[in-house]
């Protein structure tokens, strides 16, 4: 007489159960293991890292990505300033730079820790162009058509805000917004405009691309967009 086991539904239910437990507790388990995982990651060759996900997901709205040409690139700083300026790439690269290591949070739920940035504080630019008292907001305009996001003047000089041109010790890649992107770790990624080429100082707030699609203007990490 043959015994009979319902192993099929057992396997099915085990997978579903493990998935459900993962949905509830997965992030807590991985954050407890973060130290050992990071240690293991340090010995993985860069070629393998390039193929496998690093935690970054690149979002763009209007493909293909803009291409940076060092010879023709210009960064325009315009609007309510005493001395409007147009900087070439070599001008931008020559500005005094600072470094920082910060965490990048995306509003869709993923986070990349320990990102090493190097770039220019906005105060450095403000000292050059001399904003007028009527300038209250800044539009950061991307080379990617129709992508723009904003900060208030006071947000632009928060301690960790910069125009980054170096990431992880290398020039900012095309995927991450070459040649420069806005970095504001205090806010979600959609404020961190990639492929930046124009900075406009304006008297009134113009909501940015995602803000026109329902996201919060003040995208504080952990304190906006329903978090």
């Amino acid at each position: 007489m043959m015994g009979e086991k319902r192993l099929g539904r057992g396997a099915f239910l085990s997978v579903v159960g493990a998935g459900g437990a993962g949905l509830l507790f997965g992030d807590r388990i991985t954050s407890a293991l973060r130290g050992p995982i990071a240690d293991a990651g340090a010995v993985v060759p860069n070629a393998i890292k390039a193929v496998f996900p690093s935690g970054w997901r690149i979002y763009a709205i209007n493909p293909p990505w803009p291409t940076f040409h060092p010879q023709t690139y210009q960064l325009e700083i315009t609007g309510l300033v005493r001395k409007p300026m147009t900087l070439t790439w070599s001008d931008v690269a020559a500005l005094p730079a600072v470094a920082q290591t910060t965490t990048f949070h995306c509003v869709t739920g993923w986070t990349v820790g320990n990102v090493h940035w190097k770039g220019v504080r906005l105060q450095t630019l403000w000292d050059m162009v001399e904003p007028l008292p009527s300038a209250r907001y800044i539009n950061f305009v991307s080379m990617e058509r129709d992508y723009v996001d904003t900060l208030s003047m006071s947000q632009s000089t928060l301690p960790e805000v910069m125009l980054a041109h170096t990431m992880g010790g290398a020039p900012l890649s095309r995927a991450h917004g070459a040649p420069i992107r806005l970095v504001i770790p205090e806010m979600y990624g959609y404020k961190n405009v990639k492929w930046l080429h124009r900075i406009e100082l304006v008297p009134h707030l113009h909501p940015g691309f995602w803000e026109q699609n329902g996201y919060d203007v003040d995208a504080w990490v952990g304190r906006s967009n329903g978090y």
Binding site: K5, A11, G19, G20, D27, A50, G109
Partner: protein, 202 residues
């Protein structure tokens, strides 16, 4: 000469899953892997295809179940659920490769286990995928579950299963004849006797 192995209902379900899953895998990898990130600059297109394939699978499954008036799929599910002593011995044999292969029915125990795990993964993919979709737009869902992590891990489990499955049906000489069964429905009688001796082949 040939005996029927798979009913049209089973083959329809298999190919529905095969095509929609491969489309989801391809579009999912485009959205996921950095080397494809530039293609994914058109994120909306890949995302629509990815979600469209998922909807097509579940809609197709509902249609197949509704039109399966002979209850073939229900019967198949029962066959996949039940493991007899030979099946349990076969799983052990598949790992140790010691002794003779225990005789198997129409599905061997590996095929049963694979099918059960794949259907479990489909539920996990769908639940985590729905949560990922919702958390992109709905603040109340965001950050509440580990949906991205679970969807990623499910992919890393599913991919080796698919690769193994493709190896057995396309490459491995002794098993690749089974592809004929899934395409045309029938397999050679002598092959069936050798691989599935407990299946009477009607």
């Amino acid at each position: 000469m040939y005996v029927r192995r798979f009913w049209p209902e089973e083959r329809s379900l298999h190919w529905l899953l095969a095509f929609t899953f491969l489309l989801m895998l391809a579009t999912g990898l485009i959205l996921y892997l950095p080397v494809f990130a530039e293609l994914a600059a058109n994120r909306r297109l890949w995302k629509s295809l990815h979600l469209g394939a998922a909807i097509a699978f579940w809609a197709g499954l509902v249609v197949l179940l509704a039109s399966d008036t002979r209850g073939r799929l229900h019967q198949t599910a029962g066959e996949i659920d039940r493991f007899d002593d030979d099946d349990v011995r076969w799983l052990r044999w598949a790992v140790t490769r010691r002794g003779l292969e225990p005789p198997q029915g129409r599905f061997n125990a590996g095929q049963k286990l694979n099918t059960a795990i794949v259907f479990g993964l489909l539920v996990v993919f769908t639940a985590s995928g729905v949560l990922m979709y919702l958390q992109e737009t709905d603040a109340a869902v965001r950050g509440r579950t580990s949906a991205i992590l679970v969807h990623d891990i499910a992919t890393w489990i599913a991919v080796p299963l698919i690769v193994g499955h493709l190896f057995l049906v396309l490459v491995n000489p002794s098993t690749r004849h089974s592809l004929r069964g899934m395409v045309l429905g029938s397999v050679r009688r002598d092959w069936a006797r050798r691989h599935h001796p407990k299946w009477d082949g009607e």
